[in-house]
């Protein structure tokens, strides 16, 4: 059910010979306790270089307290074409939501 490994980009771009280096996806955490969010990508020779480039490109104004860089090839994503059947099991179970349950009138449940 998952898509190909070139998850966020339509084609892989890890060509070394053209001096553009391989592609890394960048995730920034805007503050302590917040989740890391995808910010964009950078080209870099290795992980350390990717972190430095990611800092220079995506955190010039204190936008992040933490950075993740991930080789773009390593990300596996769900395929948009299969989104319907893939996510169906989560959409047809109303009993997973609190509104499904009746509560005696006047009782404060939360």
């Amino acid at each position: 059910m998952t898509g190909d490994v070139k998850a966020l980009h339509a084609t892989s771009n890890g060509v070394e010979a053209d001096n553009q280096w391989s592609l890394w996806e960048v995730f920034t955490q805007p503050g302590k306790g917040a989740p890391h969010e995808h910010a964009g990508s950078v080209h870099a020779t290795d992980a350390e270089h990717a972190l430095q480039n990611a800092r220079d490109v995506y955190a010039r104004r204190g936008e992040a307290v933490s950075l993740w860089v991930v080789p773009a090839d390593a990300i596996v994503a769900s395929a948009p074409g299969d989104a319907g059947p893939f996510f169906d099991p989560g959409n047809d179970k109303a009993y997973r939501h609190p509104q499904f349950y009746k509560v005696p009138r006047g009782v404060r449940v939360f």
């Binding site: 339509a10 771009n13 001096n19 964009g40 948009p80």
Partner: protein, 322 residues
Amino acid sequence: MDQPTFVTADESALTAAFEARIAAGESIEPKDWMPDRYRRQLVRMMSQHAHSEIVGMLPEGNWITRAPSLRRKMSLIAKVQDEAGHGLYIYCGTETLGVDRHELVEQLLDGRAKYSSIFNYPTLSWADMGVIGWFVDGAAIVNQTILAKASYGPYARAMVRICKEENFHKRQGYEICATLANGTPAQREMLQDAVNRFWWPSLMMFGPSDVDSPNSAELLKWRVKRKTNDELRQRFINLTVPQAAAIGITLPDPDLRFNAETNNWDFGEIDWTEFFQVIGGNGPCNRERIAARQQAHDEGAWVREAATAHAAKQQGRATQAA
């Protein structure tokens, strides 16, 4: 192109579904099916935009060593660095469409790629740094605020990021202008001269009138653009006229007057011959810009080689240690 393949549905049904998604205000993501024409229009527009950010560093880089104070110099360096960052955000967005960045860099260096016509004008005085921030970044904000609602997700997200940073660019530019406007007669004269030179080229930044813009209708239909070139240009003029009045600067257009019926500032005829000359490679600085870009690329080769060699060495050491 690496798209999911649908063997049963035909192209027109897919296009109809795609257009329905756009009409519903949905955002299109890299792996979603999209008409080839949509992909190509995006690549064209986004790569031109990215190139503009990169070439846009050059006219301002010209004044870094001659900034009049340390404060101005720090701001200008930070601004030029931002432009590089903006170029990278958009190149990154373009890569999600399956384009190799190397290819885009080559197109820029060999002169095939287009970029904003404004960067082919020279920066002759310090006042130009102020006016570029005020007009050129001001025009870019008007344009990019709308592009932040574009239908293609990665482009829209890059625009949101860029718009936040452009506000600093515009304010630092307007501050330079306001300072010069309050300065000596020579400083005021220098500012007015810069305004006179940059006003019309700034209006041209929004592109040809919609009547003559071959791509507009399609881009609007697919919500790559949300407003026409003329609408954006008018918005920029309406915003800028009071800002010029506030610092006692005259905009070089005798036909500029407020139209109480439309609530817009009417303006004179734009010289589109000049625009097409500059776009066609015959602006005052086209060759100089590309030559400077090529020189920077060539002189940076050793840095790229060193980084690659360093990474190989580190990897070698890691393998040995293991």
